[in-house]
Amino acid sequence: MEEKERPSFEEALKELELIVTQLENEEITLEDSVKLYEKGIELSKFCTEILEQAELRIEQVNEA
């Protein structure tokens, strides 16, 4: 995914959840379900990458 269009983790997870909901709707066309599948796989990889690489950052914001 491009850096500029990188969603936040929360946005990515929300979209992934939405895709699953749409996929679980049987009214969907085969063409759409293949598109959603590709997007869903991409998002789940993106989320997993964030989760696996996360490292807590700490910054002190005032002087003391």
């Binding site: 996929l23 293949v34 789940s44 996360a54 807590l56 002190q60």
Partner: protein, 397 residues
């Protein structure tokens, strides 16, 4: 001082003055009772217990000698509201007075507690604790503001919990004293820092356990007002499980401990990993499901009545063709057989009818003008006659 000190002969020395104070105090404050909160309780190596009895306005240094401790089994801890009895003693070398305690009893609500209850009642009446004001915590905080002292165990607990649970977060620490006279104003500044910038998703104000006196900044009205005014969801985590501070009541969420504050503020990364895995599997499963659905639909259509009827017609036609072909074949075969046997019979008959057969046996055929003379009336005596044997012919004149 503008005025001259008058020249007098009876100016006392420090020792003399202190001696007067000592006798004055010790005589007037002998075997007295006093109520307050025990704080800074320490036991010396010699077994004496030193502590400060205090309320919001004053402090009284106290000592319980080891013999009294042993005799009465006193076990004091910080924050206990107590009534103590004893004698006031002035220790001249230090210029200090203290109460030599001979009796300790559990007291009712002490002065701080009273102040606590008064503020709590006041803010409750104003509606600051109402659920309607409580903001929900974010599910997936990207930035977490923490107001606490960076050197405390409380911050270490928050940090290690966040590292374990939600390392995706970025922690912004506003360092503030969490006890003493400066603490409340610093905590207020920290809350206002995050509230005004609005760049973190959740704010935690926290300190570890301690006496009521230690936790007191979180019971100050200024802190309570700042917590209430904070635009960002705020978690108050002050002291241990049993400690409730005014900030706990005003905060959007109260956590029993600093660790619990970090738990409330964040999701568990392991659960989220499982969730993403689950969603991933559902994406795969549902896509496969969709494909299977269309496959089933296609095979369903293939089995539909209309197509089946056509198929059956075709089958019938095929079997008709087959049957007819068989019949045709059979028919042709029997026809051929009949013809063959007819031919054989004909041959037989032909063989029997063979006009040459008699010749082979020695009979003679009579020919006139190229015609076989088969009957006597056909014979012309005058004409040329030809006789035929089996293998030769002879012409007669």
């Amino acid at each position: 001082m503008a005025d001259q000190i008058p020249f007098l002969f009876d100016i006392p020395s420090v020792t003399e003055l202190t001696g007067k104070i000592k006798s004055l105090l010790e005589q007037n404050f002998n075997d007295i009772l006093v109520e307050g909160e025990a704080s800074n309780v320490k036991q010396s190596a010699n077994g004496h217990i030193y502590f400060t009895l205090k309320d919001s306005g004053a402090q009284l240094p106290c000592v319980i000698w080891r013999s009294t401790v042993q005799r009465s089994g006193i076990n004091l801890t910080d924050g206990q509201q107590i009534v103590v009895g004893g004698d006031l003693q002035v220790y001249a070398p230090h210029g200090r007075y203290q109460l030599i305690v001979s009796l300790v009893q559990q007291a009712g609500i002490g002065k701080l507690q009273q102040a606590f209850e008064e503020l709590k009642a006041k803010l409750k009446a104003e509606g600051l604790f109402e659920d309607i004001h409580k903001k929900p915590l974010p599910k997936f905080p990207a930035k977490i503001g923490v107001v606490t002292s960076k050197t405390t165990a409380a911050f270490q607990d928050i940090r290690s919990t966040l590292e374990k649970r939600w390392p995706l977060a970025e922690v912004q620490l506003y360092h503030a004293s969490v006890q003493g006279i400066n603490a409340a104003p610093e905590i207020v500044k920290g809350i206002e820092y995050f509230s005004s910038r609005n760049h973190v998703d959740v704010v935690i104000i926290s300190r570890g356990g301690g006496s009521l006196e230690d936790l007191w900044p979180f019971n100050e009205e200024a802190v309570a007002r700042a917590v209430f005014a904070c635009e960002i969801p705020l978690i108050s985590a002050v002291g241990h499980e049993v400690d409730f501070s005014i900030s706990d009541f005003v905060a959007d969420t109260r956590a029993a401990t600093p660790t619990q504050a970090a738990v409330f503020a964040t999701p568990d990364i392991n659960e989220i990993k499982m969730l993403v895995e689950d969603l991933f599997r559902r994406v795969e499963l549902n896509t496969k499901g969709a494909i299977q659905y269309f496959k089933d639909r296609i095979s369903g259509l293939a089995k539909s009545h209309a197509l089946l009827a056509v198929q059956q017609k075709m089958m019938h036609a095929k079997s008709d063709i087959h049957r007819l072909t068989d019949r045709l074949k059979h028919h042709t075969e029997s026809l051929q057989k009949n013809r063959q046997s007819a031919l054989i019979q004909l041959r037989h008959r032909l063989d029997k009818q063979n006009p040459n057969e008699p010749l082979e046996k020695g009979f003679v055929r009579v020919w006139q003008d190229g015609k076989w003379i088969r009957k006597a009336p056909d014979f012309d005596k005058e004409n040329t006659t030809e006789l035929e044997w089996y293998n030769s012919r002879v012409k007669l004149n």
